[in-house]
């Protein structure tokens, strides 16, 4: 699946903030890490703020912080804030006038069903935990190879 740039940045920004809970993270830090303009990032953060997922603080020491529940917010929750036509729309009889075309749309719907189920079951905390697992395994393997 191909997501819009704003959607990808929003997921990355939310994960970055959720992995450092209770911290104010400067927007400039997010912009630098993910190579996105501050203007573009500000738009993304406004949407996330309206959804009560992040909170922005102005002034010295200001920045953004994650205020949602990382164990409950899924990738689907973030994506649907930015994308409105990423799943195949339900087909009408006019769009699928034959049995063959109806079967084609059923197959496309099957793909969407798997995609939606996957995104609805992956929470931010799951991504963070899995990334930490991968890092731990990598460190262990590096440690083992140094010992060998």
């Amino acid at each position: 699946m191909k997501l819009q740039q704003a959607t990808r940045y929003s997921i990355l920004a939310v994960l970055h903030m959720a992995s450092r809970p209770n911290e104010q993270i400067p927007a400039s830090e997010l912009a630098d890490i993910y190579g996105v303009s501050q203007h573009h990032l500000a738009k993304v953060l406004r949407t996330l703020s309206r959804a009560r997922i992040v909170e922005s603080m102005r002034g010295a020491g200001g920045g953004c912080s994650f205020i949602g529940d990382a164990r409950k917010i899924t990738l689907y929750d973030i994506i649907r804030l930015f994308e409105d036509d990423w799943l195949t729309p339900r087909t009408t009889e006019t769009e699928a006038p034959t049995d063959v075309s109806a079967e084609l749309f059923r197959v496309l719907g099957e793909v969407d069903r798997i995609t939606a189920a996957t995104l609805q079951s992956v929470t931010l905390q799951t991504i963070i935990n899995n990334a930490e697992r991968v890092a731990r395994r990598r460190d262990q393997n590096q440690g083992n190879s140094h010992k060998a």
């Binding site: 189920a117 996957t118 935990n129």
Partner: protein
């Protein structure tokens, strides 16, 4: 399988006993909407008959809080040996206390003690909460996919 695994919260993970079956049937019936006494009795019998199968219950203050079944299968669907988590259910009043995670860890530990490190499960695609639980434990889509049809 080591029995009587305690943790700091007082939850005990132990092999299911015959006396546990009535509560197990009730917890499953509440979750699925259907009582399946024969099925659970067969699962219980299999635990004794097949060393590759384990049926564990989690008890909190002596009450059954949840249960799980794990079975090691070799060359099923052409797959080398792996451990299947066939069931994992926590009673609603005990949810949010990491009992599901303790049961999952216990069944994975059973697999590991038998030399099995690949863990697999299958679930209803619309059960996002359960899928989320398994993903939270570190599971993700594997190399197999389930297909089905209604025969004519």
């Amino acid at each position: 399988m080591p029995t009587q695994e305690h943790d700091a919260t007082g939850v005990v993970i132990d092999a299911a006993s015959y006396e546990d079956l009535q509560t197990i049937i009730k917890i499953d019936c509440n979750a699925s909407g259907e009582a399946k006494p024969e099925f659970w009795l067969e699962c219980y019998k299999r635990q004794g008959a097949e060393p590759n199968s384990t049926f564990l219950v989690a008890k909190s203050d002596g009450k059954i809080a949840g249960f799980t079944i794990g079975t090691i299968k070799t060359w099923e669907f052409g797959s080398p040996a792996c451990g299947w988590v066939e069931t994992i259910i926590v009673a609603p009043e005990f949810r949010g206390q990491s009992i599901g995670t303790q049961l999952f860890d216990a069944v994975v530990s059973h697999f590991r003690s038998n030399g099995i490190t690949t863990v697999r499960t299958m679930l209803d695609i619309s059960d996002h909460a359960l899928m989320s639980f398994f993903r939270f434990q570190g599971m993700s889509a594997g190399p197999f996919i389930e297909l089905e049809m209604q025969s004519e």
